[in-house]
């Protein structure tokens, strides 16, 4: 039995993170956060700027250490999981290495795993075909459009076939059409590769479209205030975006965001739709 079937992809328990503790600019970036991501599950983190989304992702990636609490990735400590490359990571900026070809960029994590040249090249080609860039193997990153660069970054993140993908606003810099296309591609790829995902975003429709669960966060201090289950099934396409069920989920996430941090219970019958705002606008678009 494969280990990722036994362990949760991510288990965050009682985690807090304080930056600059004791100094005048102390920041309680995260307070007492619990989060479990099941294998194969797609979880989005949403919330206003500064609520600690990136911090939570970086804790899971073991790029920073928690001030207290415990992070497990695929049943291992976060530090061991990083050393074993149990996850792949992608950011808003593609962060490709300009002096390497597209294929060599995808090969980089494999080089550091000590794979031989032939195996690396084969895997890089396989991954680039997965993101539909098989014809651009020998191109330089700066010869590609923003959306293509981001696809290379995703191919790179998945190159070692990690069971977990960590993404911090990866489509934030793309135009709306490219963005929707990339979302559909990401769902297809994650389904094909059975990868679990923790995905940070500012956009409510993006979170709803992609996720099995949307984790709603709130700042000062950063914490999880709500979790919205998105039971729209796994087969999502462009029609999903026009579904009534899709709109209802958007409104639900939006309300959760509005109420984040306040202990007001919302009576759904009496909510004025105009007060809720347009369901398709993101948190930061107000």
């Amino acid at each position: 039995m494969r280990s990722e079937l036994v362990h949760p992809a991510v288990a965050v328990a009682g985690v807090s993170k304080v930056f600059n503790r004791g100094s005048a600019n102390q920041v309680d970036a995260l307070v007492d956060v619990d989060l479990v991501v099941a294998p194969g599950e797609f979880v989005s983190l949403i919330g206003p700027s500064g609520c600690g989304k990136s911090t939570l992702l970086r804790l899971i990636a073991h790029l920073i250490e928690p001030s207290s609490g415990n992070v497990l990735v695929n049943g291992k400590s976060a530090s061991q999981a990083r050393l074993d490359q149990e996850y792949g990571m992608a950011f808003q900026q593609a962060g490709l290495f300009d002096w390497r070809s597209v294929a060599k960029n995808v090969e980089l994590p494999l080089e550091l795993k000590g794979w031989d040249k032939k195996r690396r090249a084969a895997r890089a080609r396989e991954m680039l075909e997965l993101v539909k860039l098989g014809d651009f193997v020998d191109h330089r990153p700066w010869q590609l459009s923003g959306g293509m660069q981001q696809r290379v970054a995703i191919a790179r993140a998945l190159a070692a076939h990690p069971p977990l993908l960590l993404m911090d606003e990866p489509f934030g810099a793309l135009d709306e059409m490219t963005r929707e296309h990339m979302q559909a591609e990401l769902l297809r790829i994650c389904d094909e590769t059975r990868t679990s995902v923790v995905f940070v975003t500012h956009s409510i429709p993006e979170a709803v479209y992609l996720s099995d669960r949307v984790v709603v966060m709130s700042p000062r201090p950063g914490r999880i205030t709500d979790v919205v289950d998105v039971d729209l099934g796994r087969d999502r396409d462009d029609d999903t975006r026009e579904d009534d069920a899709f709109y209802r989920k958007i409104i639900e996430v939006r309300e959760a965001l509005r109420n984040g941090g306040h202990d007001t219970t919302v009576d759904h019958e009496t909510v004025d739709p105009d007060a809720v705002g347009h369901p398709l606008l993101g948190v930061d678009d107000r």
Binding site: R82, M89, G95, F97, D98, W99, L112
Partner: protein
Amino acid sequence: MTTATLAVGGSARRVLDAVWPPALFGVAFLVIWEGAVKVFDLKPYFLPPPSSIWAEFTGNLTLIRDAAWVSGANAFVGLLVGTVLGVAVSFLLMRFRLLNDMVTPLAIALNAVPIIVLVAVFNNMFSSTSEIPRRLMVTLVVYFIVLVNVAKGLRQVSPIHLELLRSYAATPVEVIRKARIPNAVPYLFTALKIAAPAAVITAFVAEYFGGPQNGLGSRIVSNIAASRNAVAWAYVVGACLLGLTFYLVSIAMENITTSRHHTSRGDDSRGSGPGGGTT
């Protein structure tokens, strides 16, 4: 194949377009110079005409070539040693942050100061027939230019690259090999483009401070002292050609590597590409 041919044709065309305006200007300048000397009857000790400078240049070609060889060797040796030292020390600075904080501001300041006057002190340290003081001087000038730039290239790596490498569990040595060194390569060539002409200038000027009388700089001085103005100017022409050679070679080296590494991209996501020499 056709695109390659087109590209070559295109770049040849661009070179031609870039060359003819200054070439035309240069020819016009020489014609006016020649005419002014004739019209105003300027004395040769004041300003010799280009025609007699050219005559002296072709007439003394072997002498000028030998002198250029001496100055060129000084510049080249200093350039080589200074570059090697500059690169080596910038690696040390990368390794020891405190050292970097102490040395880099000093190196930047020294780039803005005419340290060439030190050659008088160096001359005093070695025998009067030695080329070492001049080479030492060139080394020093080149060293600081290379140090400042390469240290910057090794340090200013994209934070995203560093985080990615950490997520791949890269060792510190791997971070240096996969990110810092490739990032510093264009900075090194920027430094060489500044350092190559500076090396030649330093080699000439250092000769004005004494030492053996065999280089272009010394010959210019001694011919002026002997009132052989046109000959002095012929050596100036030699000096210009030598400086140009060093500069063109440094540009060619940069072009060869950039066409392999970083080609002209529209936007630099890191915000700051290889910077100027002394900032």
